[in-house]
Symmetry: C2
């Protein structure tokens, strides 16, 4: 593959291989190379994804001292006052898809949003820069797992699709996902500024 | 009231008046005076209360530079793999007692633990010191609110009691609560060390 990065690789601080695979595919659209850095960056408790991502990327940068991105995502279900919000991964590990579906039993309003914030920081910047993506959809009535996806993907169907995120392959999911949108915003900005950041 | 604190007041960094009232009553058992400091200290995302409390107390100390305690508590429900754990206050604000009871519908194993960690830090210490308290009990079948309590108190009945935490007055709750136990451990230590910390 012919990456035209001028020798620069953007590193993504994450321990989530699924997120990394999705990100690589988005970066490829822009001829950008991406590396995975498996460091555990601190996340703060907040209902504001941007606040969490900014804190995390500074914490990751302190540890590695190279230009770096982190990504923080959340699932916000309208009928549950935004739950599980930024705590989606903890909620997934404990009560899982079945728990969320139980909470949504007999609930007619099934609207939900997946939101993503990508935060970038390098020594050349005064503060982290954030890029956002969002996708509206609904919580399905049952678990609809497929060949890919992770977390709550099997119970989230984006608007204007018959499939849940888990029933899509990565390419399809990246056409509409919150994460891909945020990463594309980052990639466009990065290409425009990479000589200086 | 005749506080024999030698002019020293322990400040509790919290925005939760209920917690502060419980803490004051425990401190009074030891003739210690307690002040409330309404600063917002950062909390990290972790499943380890001690880790959260240590980070928070250092963050609070950075802001106020006086000897200070923070307290972090969680509700760990066995059948839900520890959910809501350290995120109890967020889960309470979003899905509430009704949400937790819905998750526990038709669940026979109703065991749960409330856990508390009090962390203390002052300029004289190299690192925060933590004190723990825990109470075992079960999740009730319905909301049993009373005259006091907050958060998940109306659905938690401690072992060897007919009442939920919310059906107890503060004095009764402090006889057995996780928070009172942790605060008593702190108070004993503080009295033994207050000349030097």
């Amino acid at each position: 593959m012919n990456f035209q990065t001028g020798g620069r690789v953007v590193f993504f601080a994450t321990n989530n291989l699924n997120k990394f695979r999705e990100a690589c595919m988005v970066m490829r659209e822009f001829n950008l190379a991406m590396g995975m850095l498996r460091i555990k960056s601190l996340e703060i408790q907040s209902e504001n994804l941007e606040e969490i991502a900014k804190f995390s990327v500074l914490n990751a940068f302190e540890k590695c001292c190279i230009p770096i991105i982190v990504e923080d995502a959340g699932l916000f279900i309208e009928a549950l006052n935004g739950f599980p919000g930024p705590y989606a991964s903890y909620v997934y590990r404990t009560i899982g898809n079945e728990g969320l579906l139980k909470l949504m039993e007999n609930v007619k309003l099934r609207k939900a949003n997946f939101r993503s914030v990508v935060a970038y920081f390098s020594a050349e910047l005064a503060a982290p820069i954030c890029f956002k993506g969002e996708v509206a959809g609904e919580i399905t009535e049952e678990v609809r797992a497929g060949s890919s996806g992770f977390g709550f993907d099997p119970i989230f169907r984006p608007e204007r699709s018959d499939k849940t995120f888990a029933e899509m392959d990565i390419k399809e999911k990246n056409m509409c996902s919150h994460r891909a949108k945020a990463l594309r915003e980052f990639a466009k900005w990065y290409i425009a500024h990479k000589r200086i950041v």
